[in-house]
């Protein structure tokens, strides 16, 4: 199953594929043979294409924390359904937060007409800004979080008024 991560300011889609000799990590067009072995006390031996790395991993809330390459990395795990809704791919009339974050810009107010693709709000999560865009033409029903507010994953952000039945 495809997973979506946010790390170091990028959104990355990853797919783990079982192959006969182990597991492949598919990242776009690249493939890496990967394996992870627990050594205890939060330490793991990670192998990527036959090269061993010493990593430490812990999970908290909506993030996986990894110590690798001499520093710590916070990996946001994105709930794809919520993200899909937020990105406008779904039919829902409320954009939900794909991951916890902060509102850094609000571009619309309730009652304002918007066009499909127009930016409604910009949120920041895990060092990355994400635009919440209108998933259809319509009218803004509610802005659920004001500028500067923090929110959890799946929190409602912006709703459009119900489409007139036509």
């Amino acid at each position: 199953m495809k997973q979506v991560f946010h790390v170091a300011g990028s959104r990355i889609e990853a797919l783990l594929m079982p192959v006969s000799e182990g597991t492949d990590l598919v990242l776009g067009e690249r493939r890496h043979r990967v394996a992870l072995r627990a050594l205890g006390d939060g330490e793991y031996r990670l192998e990527v294409d036959g090269v061993a790395h010493r990593v430490w991993i812990a999970a908290r809330g909506d993030a996986i924390h990894v110590h690798a390459s001499g520093r710590s990395w916070t990996v946001g795990v994105v709930d794809e359904l919520a993200e899909t809704a937020a990105a406008g791919g779904g039919a829902a009339d409320t954009a939900e937060a794909p991951m916890p974050g902060t509102v850094v810009r609000v571009h619309v107010a309730p009652g304002e007409p918007v066009k499909r693709g127009q930016t409604l709000m910009v949120i920041e999560s895990m060092k990355m800004e994400t635009a919440i865009v209108a998933w259809r033409d319509g009218v803004v029903g509610a802005v659920h979080r004001p500028l500067g507010a923090t929110f959890d994953r799946k929190a409602p952000l912006v709703s459009l008024e119900p489409e007139p039945k036509s």
Binding site: L46, A59, H65, V66, S69, G70, S72
Partner: protein, 494 residues
């Protein structure tokens, strides 16, 4: 003159939390003394509570309020039978009224007498006292006479100037003014802010030194009038007027300057009748020459670097002094040996103006190795909230010379595993790796000057793949593998 000490210190209440409470408790254990720590409910599971022999909860609406509650702390001391109180740093450490209340309660305050704390806490009086004793202070003006006379005196100093609060210190409540036009407005704002922050609206103005160095001297004075210094600490690497990296010795002093500086500090300690451990802070202009900045009448956060090069335990020395003992060594008995650096590991985001971060300690593996010391109050599962200071731990590295200390510190910063809250260890490593740091071209705006070179680099492709692979493979597991001790418990079920 010297009061009799009826009984030696046997049981110390630690009126603090976090790493300094743990560190004081550690020395008490080593000395065979009893420790009592106070704590707020939010610190119930803290390392300090675990490490102390006894722990007494101070009920309060907020964490900070508990550690500032003089009456409750004195009651806890009485209840536990403590004979003395160690204030650590911050909270009540430089509160003269608290020190006086401790005395009045028949307990010993492990620090200087209240009148010395009061004198040095009033930055205007402290400067006057130091100047009268013949030591250099920066050109400055205080608010005597009419407002226009004051503005005249300030203008005579020459812009830019710095407005400071009389009751401030430690970089709090400071404003830079670059022209006469802005002076009156800024003075008014500074007075209001000082009144609000310190309940004391008095301010003073001093010359603002551009790109200064901040160097301080550790002094130690017993109750018998003996004053020694334990060398200097270079504390120029700061953000938001707060120290981030400290080291000793300072690479910028030649032996003559060092001696003049340290003797000035001892002279000031003598002039104010100082007792116990204290730190005299100085400002160095790029052109050379130093001026008294302020004196901190308590143990300093960065005291471990001095311990690393002198071999002393400063908390043990504080207790000996409070016990009325004479210093067991004289100036010159303890030559500084090697070089030591401290990095403050903070829950903050260096990419976002060092703003505090929050989280939970999910995994902690302190670095080890020759010359490495890690002082922290952290334990697994601990919530990191904005309720307290953002400092998580202090990482200290000692080496036979500065280059080795830097190399050891860089390695230790890379080895430190601290997951669950974003922190500045990788940033600190970049600072130590910077050529200007290696060349010791330090000043208090070092981090701003080199902001771009110190910015977080893009991860390499290999790093990105390793991190994504770790996350992807970890989420596949039903649980992250339990270590053996837990797994092995199965057969015991009953």
């Amino acid at each position: 003159m010297i009061e009799k000490m009826p009984m030696p210190i046997r049981k110390v209440l630690i009126a603090n939390r976090g790493e300094i409470a743990v560190r004081v408790a550690h020395t008490l254990r080593t000395l065979g003394l009893q420790s009592v720590v106070i704590y707020h409910a939010s610190d119930t599971l803290s390392l300090a509570v675990r490490e102390a022999d006894e722990a007494i909860e101070i009920p309060a609406a907020t964490g900070v309020a508990a550690y500032l509650d003089v009456e409750a702390i004195l009651a806890a001391a009485r209840r536990s039978g403590a004979d003395s109180i160690h204030p650590g740093y911050g909270f009540l450490a430089e509160n003269a009224d608290f020190a006086a209340a401790v005395d009045a309660a028949g307990l010993r305050f492990i620090g200087p007498p209240p009148e010395v704390i009061r004198l040095m806490g009033d930055k205007i009086r402290a400067r006057e006292c130091v100047a009268q004793a013949g030591f250099p202070i920066t050109p400055s003006a205080t608010e005597n006479g009419t407002a226009s006379e004051f503005v005249e005196r300030v203008s005579a100093i020459g812009f830019p100037v710095l407005i400071k609060a009389a009751a401030g210190g430690g970089g709090r409540g400071m404003r830079i003014v670059r022209s006469a036009d802005a002076l009156e407005g800024e003075l008014e704002a500074a007075r209001r802010e000082a009144e609000r922050s310190f309940k004391d609206g008095r301010v003073y103005v001093e010359r603002y030194v551009e790109r200064p160095r901040h160097i301080e001297v550790q002094v130690l004075s017993d109750r018998h009038g003996t004053h020694v210094h334990l060398g200097e600490r270079e504390c120029s690497v700061q953000r938001r007027f707060q120290k981030l990296i400290e080291e000793t010795p300072s690479a910028s002093l030649d032996p003559g300057e060092r001696e003049r500086l340290c003797e000035t500090a001892v002279g000031i300690a003598r002039a104010v009748g100082y007792v116990n451990a204290g730190t005299v802070e100085f400002i160095f202009a790029p052109s050379g020459g130093f001026h008294f900045l302020e004196m901190n009448t308590r143990l300093q956060v960065e005291h471990p670097v001095t311990e690393m090069v002198t071999g002393l335990d400063l908390v043990a020395e504080q207790i000996r002094v409070a016990d009325g003992e004479r210093l067991s060594f004289r100036q010159g008995d303890l030559p500084s040996r090697g070089h030591a650096i401290e990095c403050r590991i903070c829950a903050e985001d260096p990419q976002q103006g060092h703003t505090p971060t929050t989280g939970e300690v999910a995994l902690l593996r302190p670095p080890t190795g020759p010359g490495i010391r890690f002082d922290s109050g952290l334990c697994s599962g601990q919530r990191i909230t904005p309720a307290f200071d953002s400092m998580l731990a202090k990482l200290v590295a000692h080496g036979s010379e500065r280059g080795q200390a830097i190399a050891r510190m860089r390695q230790a910063l890379r080895d430190l595993v601290l997951l669950g809250v974003d922190h500045n260890a990788a940033y600190l490593e970049r600072v130590l790796a910077h050529p200007a740091f290696a060349a010791a071209k330090l000043h208090t705006h070092f981090l701003e000057e080199h902001r771009e070179e110190l910015a977080l680099p893009q991860p390499s492709e290999a790093e990105r793949v390793a991190v994504i692979a770790s996350a992807a493979l970890a989420t596949r597991r039903a649980t992250l593998d339990a270590p053996e001790p837990y797994a092995a418990m199965g057969p015991w079920r009953n």
